[in-house]
Symmetry: C2
Subunit: 231 residues, 2 copies
Amino acid sequence: MSVRAARKQRVNKVTVKSQVLDAELVEMRREQIVAAAVELFSRNGYFKTTILEIAQKAKISVGLIYHYARTKEDVLFLTLMSVLESYKREIPAVDPHDMPLESLWKALNAYARVIDRRRAAAVLAYRSTKSLPTAQRRTIMQLEIETNDLLAQRVQACVAAKLFRQDVNVDLAVYQLIMHAHTWALKHWHLKEIVTLDEYIAAGFESSVRASATPAGLTAYAKINRSPTKR
Amino acid sequence: MSVRAARKQRVNKVTVKSQVLDAELVEMRREQIVAAAVELFSRNGYFKTTILEIAQKAKISVGLIYHYARTKEDVLFLTLMSVLESYKREIPAVDPHDMPLESLWKALNAYARVIDRRRAAAVLAYRSTKSLPTAQRRTIMQLEIETNDLLAQRVQACVAAKLFRQDVNVDLAVYQLIMHAHTWALKHWHLKEIVTLDEYIAAGFESSVRASATPAGLTAYAKINRSPTKR
DNA sequence: TCAGTGAATGAATAGTCATTCAGGATGATC
DNA sequence: GATCATCCTGAATGACTATTCATTCACTGA
């Protein structure tokens, strides 16, 4: 658990109210709405997308959207939550057979690859989070921290195993990894010209290891680097 | 000059037309408008900011804005160009007395510090560039590349001096430095809790050096790291 | 068959805001 | 002091769109 997470404030779970009672139906309809919204928001931005367009793409009426979300902002919130949750979900649980460095490598890989698959959505999060009311924005940030913690645990394990120096700032190291992945989406227009995704991920991991590892850690890294685990 | 820049397409200089003839006046008024716009766009976002608000903050009439810009999008373009130009301007010329690594360090420092001073504006660029018509967006990207080239030259110098390995991907290394600085603005809400700006810049530089340097480079780095140049 | 309930519809409402334009002000030139 | 060029103003226009709500629909159970 990261320093930051340890002293996180209690955040009230922010939920979006629905007029519809059937929970299963609510989930289904919201998925439908969110699927349409992700696409339109990603392509045209939040403000240029109209509720009518979302309704049409989701094949429901304008009015129905307002049975499942109170405002357009609610739709944005549901959309961003769905995106960020998919990122978090994608990071695999720690495989107890894996060495700490391997485990970190796998997590970074998985994370960077979801970002790659949903690049437009990743950019959307940067463009639009600020358009949310404070409470909802905080919930988004909270989710981001929870996702980071999944990486933080693995970095921490590397420190514990003396593969990383004892004085590394775990939180900062995690942020560098996370942002490396985000950058792939944010600057894809340029990066795609100079490296492949695989090279890019490998370069980011190498940077991170070189910056933090002990001699033992570097040896372990050299081993991973040769093995087929690193596909 | 970076690989990318070498094969850049010729980009027609995109300019915003003005009804007013006096060039000096145009510059003055636009500065006035942009100053107001940066503040409002940064705080409230492009779409939530109205032309009326900009006019009031700039202490001119709504109509006058339309003498100096054809559309609201033009105002956004002028605003973003002004921000990015200020970033570029801030990177000092290479001091011929400096060693290559020192020169790179100074550039990163200067860059990260402008970003810090104008954090909200840096975030604005990420939020709003996509709201621009294609031609203008391309001009913005072009300016970003030109700024990166100022760092690329210095990284290249490190390679030439055999302080960095011959096989480093200069363009990629530059992007990591640039994004490190941007991240300070994008994730300031979290980073400010875990490091100071100085620590943050130093950490980014160290990562970069550790990732790219030859043994000679590491020695040179250790020297800089002790010297007072690194304020 | 029918009353009752929750879902779904989409036209109407109510506001907002970018953009225009008819008309002033100022100062230079003749 | 009349004419013209240039700059400036802000009320009026015309679109656009989030949100509402009166109605309709579909189903359930008795």
